[in-house]
Amino acid sequence: MNAHLQPTGSAYFLTQETQLSERHTLSVLVDNEPGILARVVGLFSARGFNIESLTVSETEHDKRLSRITVVVIATPKVLVQIKAQLERLVPVHRVHDLTAEGAYLERELALIKVNGTGDHRAETLRLADAFRAQIVDATVESFVFEVTGKPSKIDSFIALMQPLGLVEVVRTGLAAINRGPEGM
């Protein structure tokens, strides 16, 4: 009956993982103190958990609290461990698995540099408009767009820019919050 229960990383018994991995967004409320990011990131690397995206910033200055939004891809069993291990860190107040807890919003911001002249330039602008991308810098041969939205929207925009002269992309990583009146 324990066949599906394999240890996360025991060298004692080597087996194939049988559970499927899922993508989850975790929101972690922490004390904004030196080394907190290293603690969180160190925990992921030490226990072999993978980070897909990570965003950190102070959110409540008076209380010196930061919110870390971290996207992980893991099996349900490992997800439970990640949450428990994070909660075990002394400066961590709370961990919410937004994906598991119901409806939530995800947003990301990207800055995208595209070079182009002539027809390409016009096409670039048309698409940018469709995606509500703002022009935040322009020269006669280039644009920098600012685009916000779900990561999938940003992915599509980048894909479209690829043949039109995409130079480079910077993304902030995810900010996420649950829907409705309740706070964390």
Partner: protein, 589 residues
Amino acid sequence: MAEKMTGAEMVIQALTDQGVEHIFGYPGGAALPIYDAMFQQDFVKHILVRHEQGATHMAEGYARSTGKPGVVLVTSGPGATNAVTGLTDALLDSIPLVCITAQVPTTLIGTDAFQECDTVGITRSCTKHNYLVKSIEDLPRILHEAFLIATTGRPGPVVIDIPKDIQFAVGEYFRPEAETLRHQSYRPQVDGDLAAIETAIDLMLKAERPIFYTGGGVINAGPEASENLRELAELTGFPVTSTLMGLGAFPASNPQWMGMLGMHGTYEANMAMHDCDVMINIGARFDDRITGRIDAFSPNSTKIHVDIDPASINKVVQVHVPIIGDCNRVLEEMIRIWRSRTNAPRTEAIAGWWTQIQKWRDVGSLNFKNSDTVIKPQWAIQRLYEATRKQSKEVFITTEVGQHQMWAAQHFHFDQPNHWMTSGGLGTMGYGLPAAVGVQVAHPDALVIDIAGEASVQMTMQELSTAVQYRLPVKIFILNNERMGMVRQWQDLLHGSRYAHSYSESLPDFVKLAEAYGAKGIKCDTPAELDAAIADMLDHDGPVLFDVLVEKDENCLPMIPSGKPHNEIILPDTANIGDIIDEKGRQLV
């Protein structure tokens, strides 16, 4: 009341306020202000070690034998890096330590200054929590918070890294109220969920093949937890087994005791774990040395797991009734609820189970063939145990790591918690001698014995000098097989008996070595002389290094080999252990 003082004085004041009477340490440039402050008082007594690893293990022995936190003081750079092994050991075995490391002045941090290292970076993953103190205002709170974090919840080591300029800086010292410390983010859950405890009792009341599987958590929860475990065992009539770390929580002399379980546990304990219908895990963590092959681990049981650390629940084995809480509180509740449901143990309902257990016991899995010509290591421990029973003194045992450690766990019997100190999770050779020194510091009148291997003991041998300096009469009982016996056993099991570097060649003359340190040395290689030699060791009022030359190629059995389920345990009558493991099993550790 706030009082003005230097950072160094705050360290000593906070230790005093925390009631810390002994600290284990080693000075160096960056730590000198703290040493100077210590020099000018006499409440906190400092034990000067010979290597900082020794200090950490001494603090562990001190902590584990008293239930109080162990405190370590080391200098920056190499002082801090030398402490890393002991910190990791304490993390894995949940031992409360507060380790103060000195650091180069804040203005020099990051410049690769002399004896600078990134102590908080290096120790982040081997401590429960750590601090770099950057301002004198933070120091009083951090000092007291460190003790709170080290000793509450699942205990563990905490490092406070204090730069030298902070030690000199003057600030206001105060002792913060416990509730104001980390009141938001650090709140270990101590009371178990009542509904879950009731469910557990319901299962226990219906159990036909129950077993208590207990661990170090019972010991960490304090002596009352051990008392309550005894009471619950008596109320229920269920058999009790324990991990290596939990030995002593339940008395080995009690008829319900099954012996230790796991890789070198008894046949009856492992078979009962495999065949039970209700498993009650109290303060143990389904370590891989216990479970063996996970998919074959106790396949038909309903599992109850009591642990103070939520991360231990469902980490390795999925359980049916998780109870997060302090073992003592949960045991108290279990007793109360059990009593409210019934007045009698389940003697009749589990009579068949006990009959089965008796059959397993009759196998005699700890038996060994004795000899009149060569001292068998198991027998040496049995003789030592018998000799210590006649002593009026309290007896504490520490061990190193290897076969001798497992034989000690099998053949030395403990009736009380906090009397058995061993490195379980990390398996640190060199733990036992300094741990014994730490235990002896806490219990000056007790009999403290390190059951050692000749290889392990050489890792921290120099602490014998500490024992001599402080007149700590520790006894080092070396089971000398001239081999890294446990490594040799695995090479027999897995590597065609090719003994790559597992000999202890050019061993020191331990008797002369003891004398060189100013201790007493004894050597014995004849079974007929062993009892007298042990008496000689026990009678000597001072540290003794006792070199017991034992059978060289004895295997430590029973053994559940890697990748095997509990019911495929190797028993002592197995002739050739080299034929047992297949290709796949050889990859495992």
